[in-house]
Amino acid sequence: MRILIPLLAVVVLIAIGTVGGGGARYLFFVVLPYAGLAIFVLGIVYRVIHWARSPVPFRIPTSCGQQKSLPWIRSNNQENPHNMLGVIWRMILEVLFFRSLFRNTTTEIRQGPPRVLHNPDKWLWASSLLFHWSLLIILVRHFKYFVEPVPNWIIGLQNLDGFFQIGLPVLLLTDIVVVGALSYLVLRRLWEAKLRYISLPADYFALFLLLGITGSGIYLRYFDKSDITLAKQLGTGLLSFAPVVPEGLGATFGVHLFLVSILLAYIPLSKLVHMAGVFMSPTRNMVNNNRWERHVNPWDYPVTVHTYEEYEDEFRDVMKAAELPVEKD
């Protein structure tokens, strides 16, 4: 059920896209993309503001390296930042290169005399990194549908992407990688008992939706060979807020655009906000300088404590008997 429901949901979305792309063209090619984008932007802004409104009462970075203490002990500013530069560096490595996932190991208990083994495991790191980077490059490539003339660097990027010059239209590396990585991410959820157990319908939905988008995109590029100029007409129109819906855009294109619109709207409503959340995580984005810079808790309040006077009142006699100094005789 956890797999079937999201699968069905994506199939239904594809069906809607197919029908809609043929029928209600203005709705599907103009209104929904705008709506999706609007929800995306406003949703992310709302989320970030919502997070930011919860204060950070304590400075709780997770330290993953040597602290800064004595001058002759080398501190690790990247894994345990002691200044802003360190935090920025830590965040860059985390956001662009998935530093923490790079540490990943798989644990195995070998029997006989029992041995707990921690085997390095880069699969999750590699597949997520490849997936995210490919998606980013694909996204950037898509600018060519929105601007005229196409900037050289985008053309350069695409040429690089098609470095191997296979097939016509030239096979783009990112297209293969993104599908491969996504498939791996789906398969591991199905295959690995641990992952199967923790996965929710939403986890599969996000993956299926992305597969739908990349699948339809690839179909458009290599098989349907949808007219680029038509897509571009639509794109530039949308960007300049003077949308025109050109005749001749097919059903697959409708599906592709519809799924993208859904994805955009879905991001801020779901776990996919992690793209923004990673910047807000107090265990990663704080300087570990607690002992030399006081952190203020905005909602701090006074509490009842057991004062020394109360303590001495209770124990004065035994303290005196034990010849411990007291304040009051």
């Binding site: 997070w51 040597q66 641990k194 923790i198 929710l200 002992r291």
Partner: protein, 552 residues
């Protein structure tokens, strides 16, 4: 140790059998050996905590107050607004599973709800149900669960199977710290009077007498004096150990187990020898006679209520700065919470070593220095006359305690000291030390006798790494800088690697330290014969290690 416990070989046959229908229907079985006794009502009453009552987790009826669901949900809303960490961690998990097999409890038990991600989901599912749009509309399809008694029981079982060690947070791509989520969950359960004895009894003791064990001022003085006598027997030198002395330069605060339990006690002897040898002008305090702070395992408010004593006492005694002993969770509190909760400590000065002249600028605001920072500086400046061969009967390894490692980054200081005072030091495998260190399996208030099976399971990854260095290098002593570790690693070793004992760093310092005017040392601080420099297996002081684990 409980007799019913399986043999190590059997316990190591960890089975992983996740229920095929998933985890959404709450199920929990309070199996003997895997949970902790409920807090006794008197302790809650003493601390003015809500809904004290007599109950046990195995009861069918937990006597929850009327409207308990609302109490918890309101508490949750409040905390989502007060802690960005909580809000972000509730929203951001992608269930990638990177953290799943990083938790010692999962590795040792195979219980799928001990995967950090799932532990968090137990709470997150309620968050989704009641605080997100998707959850409100789609319910269980969106991964939402209604807060029911079953869910609450699950919370109690699994949030008291997390030692707040933060190992999962090292591996999470968003730094999601399940320890933080556990802290929130425990606060929520406190609101309806659910906590455990092993947390609330030390809390009320500490509130009243100044230390977890409830030792009154004269008892405290006796313990310290007993140690002074013992040290004199070993070294021939009578040291001074002032208590509540006004005008001393430094206030020294150690975890109370150091002056009560074994093998902590030998570390205490080490401190005393060291302070005497360098002529430190310091004082102990009977009012602030506890470095540890079980508030960390209970609630932020309780951290603050107990921790307040440190600065208050420093002020009353008129010291310049505070030195802190070997303790793990104590140092998380001091490093990450104290200054915020009870600072600023303007009346103190930036700590400066009176012996070397080094100023500890990194502690210029809290005014509190870790003893390994202090001693490492002494050694570096050649202020100590050391004979490491007096530790030659030990082949040592070092266990990074979770909190100094992952909530501070105190990694090199202890190693520098060990290497200066011991000739034989061997590191455990890379994935089990430093920021990736494995918990003793009994921290965060879970070190009880009734929880013994879970402790041995949770401690297995740590013990197994010790086994490795024992097999490879004949290691026979596991060093650590944490009072909970010293109490709980001992039975853990006894169970998994009985050839290995547990000790503190300042015990090693005390052994190696050549004191002016000392007599020829024929025994080490444990009273073990040094003449053959072979390792004899006797435990001279304090209770047996089991007793300590049970009572400390």
């Amino acid at each position: 140790m409980s007799e019913k416990l399986k043999k190590p070989q059997e316990l190591a046959q960890v089975e992983f059998k996740p229920a095929p229908q998933g985890w959404m229907d709450p199920t929990v079985e309070f199996r003997k050996g895997t949970w902790n006794y409920a807090a006794v009502p008197e302790t809650l009453e003493y601390l003015d905590l809500p809904y004290p009552r007599k109950w046990q987790p195995t009861d069918d009826d937990w006597q929850l107050p009327d409207g308990w669901e609302q109490i918890i949900l309101t508490g949750m809303r409040e905390r989502l607004k007060k802690y960005r960490s909580f809000q972000v961690f509730m929203d951001c998990c992608v269930r990638c599973g990177a953290c799943a097999d990083k938790c010692h409890y999962f590795i040792g038990s195979g219980d799928p709800k001990n995967m950090p991600v799932l532990r968090a989901e137990l709470l997150r599912s309620v968050y989704r149900n009641d605080f997100t749009t998707a959850g409100k509309i789609l319910g269980s399809i969106a991964g939402g669960r209604k807060l029911t008694v079953g869910v609450l029981k699950e919370w109690f079982y699994y949030f008291y199977q997390c030692t707040e060690c933060r190992r999962c947070s090292v591996f999470c791509p968003y730094g999601i710290d399940t320890a933080e989520i556990t802290m929130m969950a425990r606060e929520l359960m406190n609101l309806v009077g659910l906590s455990i004895e092993w947390i609330c009894t030390p809390l009320s003791n500490c509130f009243r007498t100044g230390n977890h064990l409830g030792i009154q001022p004269h008892g405290f003085k006796d313990s310290i004096e007993f140690a002074v006598d013992e040290l004199e027997e070993i070294t021939g030198i009578r040291v001074d150990a002032p208590i509540n002395k006004k005008g001393a330069e430094i206030l020294f605060i150690a975890p109370s187990a150091d002056y009560f339990a074994s093998p902590h006690y030998f570390t205490l002897l080490g401190y005393l020898a060291l302070f005497h040898e360098i002529g430190l002008d310091y004082t102990w305090s009977s009012y602030a006679s506890e470095g540890g702070n079980f508030g960390l395992f209970h609630s932020t408010e309780m951290i603050k209520r107990l921790n307040a004593k440190m600065y208050a006492e420093a002020k009353r005694l008129g010291v310049k700065w505070i030195l802190g002993g070997e303790c793990g969770h104590m140092w998380r509190v001091i490093h990450q919470y104290m200054n915020t909760l009870n600072g600023p400590a303007d009346f103190l000065e930036t700590p400066r070593s009176p012996i070397t002249g080094t100023t500890f600028d990194h502690a210029s605001s809290t005014k509190m220095v870790h003893i390994t920072e202090f001693t490492a500086d002494l050694i570096r400046n050649n202020k100590l006359n050391l004979d490491p061969s007096r530790n030659d009967h030990w082949r040592t390894t070092f266990h990074d305690s979770c909190n100094p490692a992952r909530a501070m980054g105190l990694l090199e200081e202890p190693r520098y000291i060990i290497k200066s005072v011991c000739n034989n030091f061997f590191e455990m495998p890379e994935n089990t030390i430093r920021e990736q260190t494995f918990c003793c399996g009994s921290g965060a208030g879970l070190g009880t006798d009734e929880n013994m099976e879970m402790r041995m399971r949770g401690g297995m990854p740590r013990a197994n790494a010790v086994q490795f260095v024992h097999d490879e290098h004949d290691v026979n002593l596991l060093l650590c800088i944490c009072a909970i570790d010293k109490a709980t690693l001992s039975p853990l070793m006894e169970y998994w690697v009985p050839e290995v004992e547990v000790g503190g760093i300042h015990e090693m310092v005390g052994n190696a330290l050549i004191m002016k005017g000392e007599k020829e040392r024929d025994v080490d601080l444990r009273g073990q014969d040094l003449s053959g420099k072979t390792h004899a297996d006797e435990s001279p002081a304090g209770g047996s290690q089991e007793e300590v684990a049970a009572n400390a």
